[in-house]
Amino acid sequence: MTLRKLGLYAAALLLTAWVLAPIVLIALAAATPREDLYRWPRPLWPERLSFEILSSFARQEAVLRALGNSLAVAGLTIVLATLVSAPAGYALARYPFRGREAVQLGILATKMFPATALAVPLAVAFIRWGLYDTLLGVALVHTALSVPFVILIVASVFRGVPAELEEAAMSLGASRVGAFIRVTFPMALPGLAAAAIFTFILSWNEVFAATLLTVNHRTLPALLVHSVVAEGAPLHYRYAGGFFLVLPALVIIFVIRRYLLTLWGVTVR
């Protein structure tokens, strides 16, 4: 192995450790029996492992309800974001209209606007519209947050499907819509799935809007923030909650990492 390669591996290891260390620590803590958790000094590697904390956390009714809420909000966000972003992304990818670059930049520029500045007016407006403390309300905000990214991802996915394939389908008798459904869509599916997963994770982890806009219908992150900040939840509760938040992202990314590579229109087989 050359020195250069060695350096590369070392850098990779360092980066991996940087990302993995908190995850591992939180997982270990969550798997430590309650009484060991409060011992001092606490060993880095717990002497005994148990699922006591995790299972008691997961058996709480509030947690289960929040989990359901989180899933519902994320699902709704995926549907809404896809409905908005897919046509926009397709148009950006296929039609060379005047001002396309500007539109593309403008979409991204909306991300520069701080969400905090919107918080109060948004809450007021939601109360007026009857969207306050509803899952739909949270999903709408999450949609607004994810749409700029999703549009750009989807546009690049569609750009990766040659226009000639659609034209071939049309020359063989398909309509424009038919060509999209039979050719472009199936080919874009992996990339679209990656975009959906991206949206899911964004919604699953989003805490600011979810905390601000809900009281009774909290999502999991909102519930955790509330329990920790307002009720001073104990250490083991925090570890278990943290672990639960990280888990789906880990599982999903592991499963779809192959598709994530198609994010920018490059399909790696």
């Binding site: 040659p162 049309m170 020359s171 398909a174």
Partner: protein
């Protein structure tokens, strides 16, 4: 089968005029080749016929029907793309059957017709594969099969052989010719390869900068190019051109001060040009070496197998001469050239357009 009529087609992309005032009448069952250098608008004309572009002006008629405003799927045509555009997520069978499905053909009939066309194109044992598992030549066959299976009135092909290696191209060229004889669809074929155009086309339309400069049979185009551009674009090596003058007294041609009798067919056209300049064209294989009034020195002798190609420098021109493979001429040797009257093609010195013959 149907005839195609293009009427005054015009298409521009932003500031680029891709097609200007193209009118062509293509007969039923005819094989017409659109030939021209890169960027001359061949693909655009084909896409206008297919309905993948809409013209700014002009009309497209297929089989007596004005299809100018119809989408591609309703023009009853098959198209073979340069990149083949096979659907990568479908097996060969489904690729070929695509057009049939779009037309609502029953499953049993689909299978029968796919197998029939697969037989014709010798891809029967590839039907279960994905396009990524095919060689270039096989993909090309699948693309042709996919276009043919719907028995279109019109078959459009955009440089279908340009991605193949030379040997395969030669083979597929013959195959396409056989196929056209068997299927008989009116075919429009785009290429920038003049040999392909000559060998395939019943007629060839030569395009330049978006315009049709000549539309005729390959022999006519080769023997009687309508202007200097066509003469130099077709033929390998291209036609030789001499700057000459018309003798003011007897109307004969003066090439580098040497007198050549003028071809009779041009007598009338030359009568008006006495004393003026003129462009004289002649194909390399028609220049004769050995005796003749024109002197030159052989610069290069290239044996090309069936013939030998000489580059001869005369006082004012470089002349390409095709001679037999056993010709003894060597570089440095001085030779005499003759320009046989029957093979001279005369063009206007300014416009470079062919003079009328009678």
């Amino acid at each position: 089968m149907a005839e195609i009529r293009l009427e005054g087609l015009h298409k521009r992309f932003g500031r680029v005029v891709a097609v200007r005032d193209v009118s062509l009448e293509i007969r039923e069952g005819e094989f017409v080749v659109l030939l021209g250098p890169s960027g001359c608008g061949k693909t655009t004309v084909l896409r206008l016929v297919a309905g993948l572009e809409t013209p700014d002006r002009g009309r497209v008629w297929i089989g007596g029907r004005d299809v100018t405003r119809l989408p591609p799927g309703r023009r009853d045509l098959g198209m073979v793309f340069q990149s083949y555009a096979l659907f990568p997520h479908m097996r060969v069978f489904d690729n070929v059957a695509f057009g049939l499905r779009m037309r609502g053909v029953g499953v049993a009939e689909q299978r029968r017709r796919v197998e029939e066309v697969a037989e014709l194109l010798q891809i029967a044992d590839l039907l279960d594969r994905y396009p990524a598992q095919l060689s270039g030549g096989q993909r090309q066959r699948v693309a042709v099969a996919r276009a043919l299976v719907v028995r279109p009135q019109v078959l459009l092909m955009d440089e279908p052989l340009s991605n193949l290696d030379a040997l395969l191209r030669l083979h597929m060229r013959a195959e396409l010719k056989r196929l056209h004889r068997e299927v008989g669809s009116t075919t429009v074929y785009v290429t920038h390869d003049q040999v392909e155009a000559m060998s395939l086309g019943d007629r060839v339309a030569v395009l330049r900068e978006g315009q049709v400069v000549q539309f005729d049979t390959p022999t006519q185009i080769y023997d009687h190019p309508s202007d200097r551009f066509v003469g130099s674009f077709l033929g390998n090596p291209p036609m030789n051109f001499f700057q000459a003058t018309v003798d003011p007294e007897d109307g004969s041609l003066r090439v580098e001060g040497v007198k050549f009798p003028a071809p009779v067919a041009y007598a009338q056209a030359l009568a008006e040009r006495r004393g003026g300049p003129i462009l004289v064209g002649i194909r390399p294989e028609h220049v004769s070496v050995g005796t003749g009034p024109l002197r030159g020195e052989v610069l290069v002798a290239e044996p090309l197998g069936a013939q030998k190609l000489l580059t001869v420098r005369t006082a004012q021109h470089l002349v390409k001469v095709a001679v037999g493979p056993d010709h003894a001429a060597r570089p440095g040797e001085h030779v005499a050239l003759d320009l046989p009257e029957a093979h001279l093609r005369l063009m206007d010195a300014q416009t470079e357009r062919a003079l009328p013959r009678r």
